[in-house]
């Protein structure tokens, strides 16, 4: 049967060919197409086929019969998230990385619970800091693992940006936590060390420039993170930390999305052995956590959430 559709979002003459292709792939045929009016007349064999056709046109980015075009800034990220969370075969490697990260986080939080409330080795006042440390470790390592799973090179600009971002986020988060728990001196040194380390590992893909970019970011953010925590000591440090962590994690998620857009989906074979990643995550968290709880403490240091 024949059916007429009103389409919006046709931007150029290629659109007419895109639309014809979409229609043919569904198995229907084009009877008439008027690009300037956005009018499409098709021959379909059933209502179900018509619905399939409308869905395909919307997915292609056109507005159908009054629906808005699906082209907002968030359209593609949300579509990616949808595919990641479903069990589609697309993004299999990314899904495995995300799953191992969630698993690492679970192990860390379970360990924290055990040590604090069951074995009572760790004082409960450290729980907020340690919980943030767990989340921060997983967020930074996920971005790094994702980046290192790409086999093809990134452009110089992108590589440096990625090295800088990972170094900066790691340094900020580590510096802020250690600054709060151990004071300014230890906090800035630890923040710088972790930031520089993560930054250099990430930047190494792009040679000396990349490493330098990562080191610089680590130096800057490690010191700044510690400084902010210490300066907020008479204010609400925990509230600041929550905001800081939320922002940095948002940036790291955006970074992974940027890598996906630029480098495409990762080949499943190039994902590293995930058990090693989980072990590394938990080990780093254990060492860093031990530093926060039992490390050197300056006169002004974390006494618990006020």
């Amino acid at each position: 049967m024949e059916h007429e559709l009103r389409l919006t979002g046709l931007e150029c003459d290629s659109c007419a060919r895109v639309i014809s292709r979409v229609v043919e792939r569904i198995g229907a045929s084009v009877k008439d197409i008027d690009y300037s009016m956005g009018r499409l007349v098709v021959e379909v064999n059933s209502d179900a086929q018509l619905d399939d056709l409308k869905a395909a046109l919307i997915e292609a980015g056109y507005g159908v019969d009054g629906n808005d075009t699906n082209r907002g800034v968030m359209a593609r990220p949300l579509a990616f998230l949808g595919k990641l969370l479903s069990n589609s075969t697309d993004f299999d490697a990314e899904r495995r990385i995300a799953e191992s990260s969630m698993f690492s986080l679970l192990i860390m939080l379970a360990g924290l619970f055990l040590l604090t409330y069951v074995l009572q080795i760790v004082s409960p006042r450290f729980v907020p800091l340690l919980a943030l440390a767990a989340v921060g470790t997983v967020a930074c390592s996920t971005a790094l693992i994702h980046f290192r799973a790409f086999r093809q090179p990134f452009s110089c600009m992108s590589g440096m940006m990625i090295g800088m971002t990972i170094g900066m986020m790691a340094g900020f988060l580590a510096g802020a936590l250690s600054g709060a728990a151990n004071g300014m001196l230890v906090g800035s040194i630890v923040g710088m060390a972790i930031g520089m380390g993560m930054g250099a590992i990430a930047g190494a893909r792009n040679g000396v420039m990349g490493i330098l970019e990562g080191l610089m970011a680590g130096i800057m953010s490690g010191t700044m993170g510690a400084m902010l925590s210490v300066m907020l000591f008479n204010d609400n440090v925990l509230l600041f930390l929550i905001f800081l962590f939320a922002s940095c994690i948002f940036v790291l998620l955006g970074l992974s999305y940027m890598m996906l857009r630029e480098g495409g989906s990762v080949l499943p074979s190039s994902v590293p052995i995930l058990a090693k990643s989980i072990a590394a995550n938990v080990a780093v968290f254990a060492v860093f956590g031990a530093l926060l709880v039992w490390g050197p403490r300056a006169a002004f240091a974390w006494a618990g959430a006020s």
């Binding site: 150029c12 290629s14 060919r17 895109v18 292709r21 292609a60 980015g61 093809q152 630029e262 495409g264």
Partner: protein
């Protein structure tokens, strides 16, 4: 394995969509298509498929340069 095609004549988003569909119909997976950079990157298990991809792109009226 993957191959990046440098395509001349991609001038808007719909060109990405068109070429993605054309290359997919030729039996390959499209990793990404970017009209600003003028590239279409495809993935296939067998080398011969890349030739079909190149022909599919050219059949739509675009020109393929070199490619690595």
């Amino acid at each position: 394995m993957r191959k990046t095609f440098h395509v001349e004549g991609m001038h808007c988003k719909s060109c990405e969509k068109l070429l993605t569909m054309a290359v997919e119909d030729a039996g390959l997976k499209v990793v990404r298509a970017d009209y600003a950079a003028g590239i279409v990157e495809a993935e296939a298990h067998d080398e011969a498929k890349f030739e079909s991809a190149r022909k599919a792109i050219e059949a739509e009226g675009y020109k393929v340069n070199g490619g690595n």
